[in-house]
Symmetry: C2
Subunit: 188 residues, 2 copies
Amino acid sequence: MGRWEPGAGSRLREAALALYLERGFEQTTVADIAERAGVTARTFFRHFADKREVLFDGAAALEERSVAALEAVPAAASALDAVVAALNVTAEMIGSDRDLARKRQAVIMANAELRERELIKFASMSVTLADRLRARGVGDLDASLAAEIGVAAFRVAFEQWAGATGDGELRDAIHTSLAALRTLTAAD
Amino acid sequence: MGRWEPGAGSRLREAALALYLERGFEQTTVADIAERAGVTARTFFRHFADKREVLFDGAAALEERSVAALEAVPAAASALDAVVAALNVTAEMIGSDRDLARKRQAVIMANAELRERELIKFASMSVTLADRLRARGVGDLDASLAAEIGVAAFRVAFEQWAGATGDGELRDAIHTSLAALRTLTAAD
DNA sequence: ACAGTGATGTCACTTGATGACATGGGATCC
DNA sequence: GGATCCCATGTCATCAAGTGACATCACTGT
């Protein structure tokens, strides 16, 4: 491959994010992105399944690592605790680059299609975690619920964190969210 | 309008559901639906924002009535209890026609785009309920969380109910789901 | 040098979605 | 009753997303 030039994949990713920020997601066509990246539109689709996926193709890696984290939790831990451990790892990965997270989140929140896709990614993580819990012997319903509410708590915390102007840690936001969750369900 | 003929809206809805069941969602084009309903494709888009929305345009009414149910809950009730009351009303509406629910669910589960859209509808309900909780004086975080976990419990129960071959009541499934949720968060 | 492999370009096409404009029939008002 | 208005729809044109088929060119290893 001769001298090193950034692959078309990363050039496309950068071009897309820049355009989404400059003029908005809907106002950006695949042709625009491809042009800025110096390739054809056809090539764009060889790297990304669709226009949205550019912003989400990191999710797979995220999921992978949080699953690994879940596996590392002692079997004695409760289902919810195991999920929380996995999500804390996720939080560390995301939380390490707050500026990028904010930019990305701004683009996503400005568009319905992207908000949908983001929810899907969270849901996908929830399903994956639930599966792993089942593999550990957790019951069907409990596995689904533990994963769902863990991810819900994470998501609420994340949204607050990514939107807030302050500079608290994502990890702390999650902790607060989980504590609130316990109080809510305990109160009867 | 002369004698009564079903409006184009309902004809389109029926045509679409039939085709989605017969040959699948992706294999059905808007042109197909329009033809079966006796209108042009352009008219389809005057009734539905997109091909998916045909299956989801009842969601608004559902949301409306569950909000009304939430408003009817005494202010003294806990946030989660209020959400549960709202969801029980939703359950009654959905649960009244299990056959339709199953057909619809079969179509939705067979397609990724439709699963996405369904999650969005649930998310939308969650946001709406959270807003109403805030209007009642519930704190920001608590409102989001109560709505999220209530809806999550509902969704898990609903999916199990709509997929199961047995004939339990949706209401019971929700109750079971909520009980499990409380146990999960209590265990510490 | 040669065959193979992979990434890209080119072309053609289907489908989803939307804007602009025409029209026909029912409802409304005088 | 007839002029008029409005709404639903049809018609036409167009753009953008996405995909399949095939050609090309650079680089790889032998």
